[in-house]
Symmetry: C2
Subunit: 451 residues, 2 copies
């Protein structure tokens, strides 16, 4: 590294300065393209940004307009504060945070008030000690409650605000005289902030978490459908085992489905807070979407297994005997793949349009029937060959497991290099390490092991 | 529902009161058990709760002790505030939030100050308008930046605090005279809060996100190993296809691996903020853990496919011909399963102890060799049967995809019922709906279709 620094120093300012400017211009251009892409992918993001600006400006009017300011005092800050923290991308997110904040403030305020009066009984010296104990106990208990999955999922923010407000009220009660006035101001400014957020969020180009969840679940089904239909045409269709499947976009799209759980969970959580809107009632069955999502991921998993098998097959096997059996299986596979794809696409559009149709079932019935027929294709009277096929399939699947363990070893090996794990088999236990300085090409060391 | 309420009203207070008490006692007992379990599963949770209480109590001392209070004024509140919001479970989380908060406050404070001076040039009437425009623009721009994945992952909290502080400084600059004093107080109280959090978090029973990630990745490998070894013994071992695999715990444990991405991502994100500690240096290759995690999930996916195939096999096929071929395959499968399991277990312990060993590679080599031998078992001179096996395996895998699409249809159908989707095939398009009140058992309606 030192020599590199030396080289750089020799290059004059004039020669690298234009390069530097060009480089940063390039980076700025890339950034601009990236920003444009983010906005283009979902224009609601631009609208949301403007909405946050709008809500903040609305709330700061309270500060600028004189009569209102004198009524609420410096507490108006809390309204600004509330808007910044509560305003979320989706209506459900804003509602969840806003209601959590409002109720937690109310509850903790009342409790803090009670704690103040209780502590006052202990006299001037005892009061801070007692208040400190209350704060310690409540903070510890509330923090522990956040480890409960139900509370973590829905009321995490509320618990934070609860601890915050209780501490603030309990601590400041020791100094502030007009506690009631403070509490009133705090509550009304929080209410102003929450109301501003809710109005902006719900009435100005609202983004509903429920609708996003609805669309996401349908889009995931569509991705699987697209993958299966693509395989039905491209792989099982005319050119089975001839064309390489690598780099096909339909083989990549389903992979995002495998990691969609976190997004679905958070959207469903927010959707539960949302009032009825458009096609979605207040008690819309959001849980059912999570169930569909879980099964969709299971489906994506078996598609992944199928793809892994096919791609290793393409790499290792180049035999192209045109057995009659093989051709029949291929035709059946093309059929199964396409029909299952159609069934999934139908389900996706059924969700999207909220219109149930039994066509999906019909497509899948054809696929299932074809699947049953494939096993019957085995050309023997006795079931020996069928049994062999079943055993061999199990072995093939297990072979896939073995195969995909290989990259795990490679990855852990890389980690062991990067993180400098100990390597006991080289005998470092009781040895002395003597690096060989002369042989430049080999980064090895000679190790003398004392047994 | 109405009739049910009526029935309840008839039951006297005396008879259901003990029941109610018993019921709530039962619920309280369950809650207590749940709380105890959460604490027992990971005692660090209890410690964390006490640490939050401790940090808050420490900070409130600033408020109670007089000389300090008069130096910083009512701004001490901000220290309490900072502690509540910044204190996270892991050191990395606390550091990430603390540093984000400190730097965002500094940057936004300076910018807000600049905005105040710029706006002051516009005169008394123009100032609030100009300030409002600044707040609107900065809030919108900063909110938009949160949609960039890199910023969202690492600086999300910082952006919130940036908007917050800028708005507060810009807005209050219109009224507060001593802006410099306010900024100084705000910054020093935030610094006090952040320092308190960091000290408590790092020096009192620290929970390192990096260590948690390290252990999680190893534990996930262990889960897969446990599943494969269990299958090697229980399913492929002596009693292949005889004993049911349902309800075996080793078949359930790997399923959590499939959904571990979100946890791993957040832990890796926090780990990057942590200083070197114990066996982990400052620039420990945390990204490599994410890579291992991704490959592990891929592995879990193929195990899922294998399990799904085996479990449908167990339900549908009860043939137990003891072919020689089948027995040989079974022995080979038992071997592959156990050796792969051992390899994964070895990798897990290699990570845990940070000691690289090549034993994992040896186990996997045995498994791979066995896998190669299985295909050679096919008892034909020509490769016809092998080709048939390969086609049949592809068909079997595709059959699995078809099979797992079935529950998707069922789930969407349930959704369509719960969410009351339209059912066009019943001909609601241009029909009138006439409910039949007389036939109680059928919830159907007579629909007259006008063509």
């Amino acid at each position: 590294m030192d020599s590199a620094v030396g080289t750089n120093e020799k290059v004059g300012f004039n020669s690298w300065c234009p390069l530097l400017i060009f480089d940063s211009m390039q980076k700025l251009k890339e950034l601009a393209q990236k920003i444009r892409k983010i906005g283009k992918d979902d224009p609601r993001r631009v609208l949301h940004s403007l909405k946050v600006g709008l809500a903040l400006t609305l709330v700061s009017i309270f500060y600028y307009v004189n009569p209102l300011f004198y009524g609420l005092g410096a507490s108006t800050m809390w309204a600004v504060f509330t808007v910044v923290v509560v305003m979320e991308y989706t209506v459900g997110g804003t509602l969840s945070k806003g209601l959590n904040r409002a109720f937690a403030t109310l509850l903790a305020g009342a409790l803090g008030f009670g704690a103040h009066h209780l502590a006052a009984l202990a006299g001037d010296k005892g009061e801070p000690i007692l208040l400190g104990m209350f704060v310690f106990m409540l903070a510890a208990m509330a923090t522990f409650s956040r480890f409960m999955p139900e509370i973590k999922a829905r009321y995490d923010y509320g618990v934070t605000i609860f601890i915050l407000t209780f501490s603030l009220v309990a601590v400041s009660s020791y100094r502030v005289e007009e506690l009631i006035k403070l509490a009133y101001q705090r509550l009304s400014t929080v209410a102003i902030g929450v109301t501003t957020c809710l109005c902006t969020s719900m009435f100005v180009f609202p983004v509903w978490a429920g609708e996003d969840l609805h669309m996401l679940v349908a889009a995931n089904l569509d991705k699987l459908a697209c993958c299966l239909e693509g395989m039905g045409v491209e792989y099982f269709g005319e050119k089975m085992e001839s064309g390489s499947l690598e780099g096909k976009s339909f083989l990549q799209s389903y992979k995002t489905v495998l990691n969609s759980k976190a997004t679905e969970d958070s959207l469903a959580n927010f959707a539960r807070w949302e009032p009825g809107h458009g096609r979605f009632g207040f008690r819309h069955p959001w849980n059912q979407y999570l169930k569909i999502g879980a099964i969709t991921r299971h489906c994506a998993c078996s598609i992944e297994a199928l793809n892994a098998y096919i791609s290793t097959l393409q790499q290792s096997h180049k035999t192209t005997k045109d057995l009659e059996f093989k051709q029949k299986v291929q035709v059946a596979c093309a059929n199964m793949s396409k029909e299952t794809g159609k069934a999934l696409a139908e389900l996706a559009s059924s969700i999207r349009e909220m219109k149930w149709s039994s066509i999906a079932g019909k497509h899948l019935a054809i696929a299932t029937e074809t699947a049953c027929r494939v096993m019957a294709l085995v050309p023997t009277e006795n079931s020996t060959l069928l049994e062999m096929l079943i055993s061999a399939t199990t072995a093939s699947l297990l072979t896939e497991v073995v195969r995909c363990t290989n990259p795990v070893i490679a990855a852990v090996e890389e980690l062991s290099r990067l993180a400098e794990f100990k390597r006991p088999e080289h005998g470092r236990k009781a040895g002395t390490v003597k690096p060989i300085a002369d042989i430049e090409s080999l980064p090895h060391a000679v190790i003398v092991i004392e047994k």
